[in-house]
Amino acid sequence: MSVSSSLSRTRVASWYERRSKRLRRRSPRGADASLAIGLVIIGAMMLAALFAGVLSPADPTRQDIPNALAPPGTDGHLLGTDALGRDILSRLLYAARTDLFVAVGAVLLPLVIGVAIGTIAGYRGGIVDRVVTGVVNVVFAFPVLVLLIALVFILGPGIPTIIVAVTLVSWVSYARLARDLVRRERSLDYVLAARVSGLPTWRILGRHILRNIIAQPVTFAMSDAVAIILFITALGFLGLGVPPPAPDWGTMIADAQPYFTTHWWLAVFPGLAICAAGLGLSLIADGLSQKWNAQ
């Protein structure tokens, strides 16, 4: 399982090309619809996560062995209970907190850091660009899981460890994307004109170039968030993820493994939550890039 480490430069590029080709064919009205539906889904999930304390019928960590594996609809357990008798609905809501928080952090940090580094490298060129490109290539070649295990030893398991590890690895995708976009952009006449106008470099980068290239990294980030939620799921399986008893969707599915065939609700509900989050983020990504393409 890997997040961005396996996303080679060509994959990022061709991914974006395919996406924008597909999007160009669609109607502009589709953009608003995708964006709206995506925002509603993610917005609802964020609200649910935020108000988990109020919305949860039970304490997500409270075990109740006699009532273990109760099916959905059982008194007081709308979505049933897991193998330890914990309320699945409550665990889902609290897990949304963990997973959305990690996804947002693990996407925003690399996005900001990567785009900043890539933009400077692409604009400056020369030795700065060569050094950044070298570092990016090394990180690309580095196995993310090895890094993560090392970090778990150093920092101890937990949410910060996951965010730091993902950031260390995946800023390079953004850096490379931004660097290539800026290299293309900086020779365009409007950038030359801004230089002739005597605008300071930071202004040219921030107000002129960044505005014209930011669409692709942001769109990519939305899809990356989906990958990161799946990545946390995988970490849960490996026991490297969010430490128990704090719930997250991935660990819930992992814990449900012995009951896949006999007690479907243990795995299906967290699975649906992951699907919904992925769908919502993809719709937002689609809508955004379509809107930006139209401009």
């Binding site: 030359l192 004109a193 002739v196 106008s197 202004r203 107000r207 505005r211 014209n212 401009q295």
Partner: protein, 281 residues
Amino acid sequence: MTEPLLEVRDLAVTFGSGRGWGGDRGRIHAVRGIDFSVRPGEAFALVGESGSGKSTTAKCVAGLQKPTRGSISFAGSPLDPARNREQRRAIQMVFQDPYSSLNPRMTIGAALVEILRVHRLAGSRAAAVKRAAELLDLVGMPRSALDQRPRAFSGGQRQRLGVARALAVNPSLLVADEPVSALDVSIQASVLLLLKRLQRDLGLTMLFISHDLAVVRQLCDRVAVMADGRIVEEGAVGRVLSEPSADFTRTLLAAATDLPPLDLDLDLDQDHRSPKRRSTR
């Protein structure tokens, strides 16, 4: 004779490092050591066919390209590669492609106001907006353009907006790199006319790049002919065009179309029509 405003001495630009295996073969000698000077208030033309090094020369003058060799002096003092704000302000440029020379995501007003504010040419935001509106008047564009983005305008209109941007900082030298060659012939004349009038009314000095001698005849006082990175002929426009001494100039002349002389009193606002390319939104 008056002191030249712009003096270019032994300017040379070589692309490619020349390091590594190819040796000198990997290099492109875009400009091979040229000299020329432009007097205050005159329109000086640099003509030559594609690839002769005109744009590279223009970029050096505008401070966008570091010369490999040679010097550029402005108003008597040499310009070093890292120009200060005042030196940048004095030399402005109009670009060839009106479709890429304006930031697609900024309104015309925002772009002009930004430049005015950075150079502290307007005390307040309101003053900057007022000055931006005056600039639009100057180039014959409606003030409503302030709130619009470049995609709302035709090529000719965009080129006028490019001129307005260049004039925002009150330059003394305007470098125009083939400002009309991307435009329809019917629109070319009105943009040329605008440049000619601005030159007369504002006392601008102009370095005008072109591959079309007919356009040069309409607009310029003196001309230098470039071929393969060198200046092969230089002199008053009338003299060079009537009795060219270089073979190359004769070839260029044969390719030139005949254009009527510019009538400075013509109506300027003839290309305020709907944009040719309208983006779908």
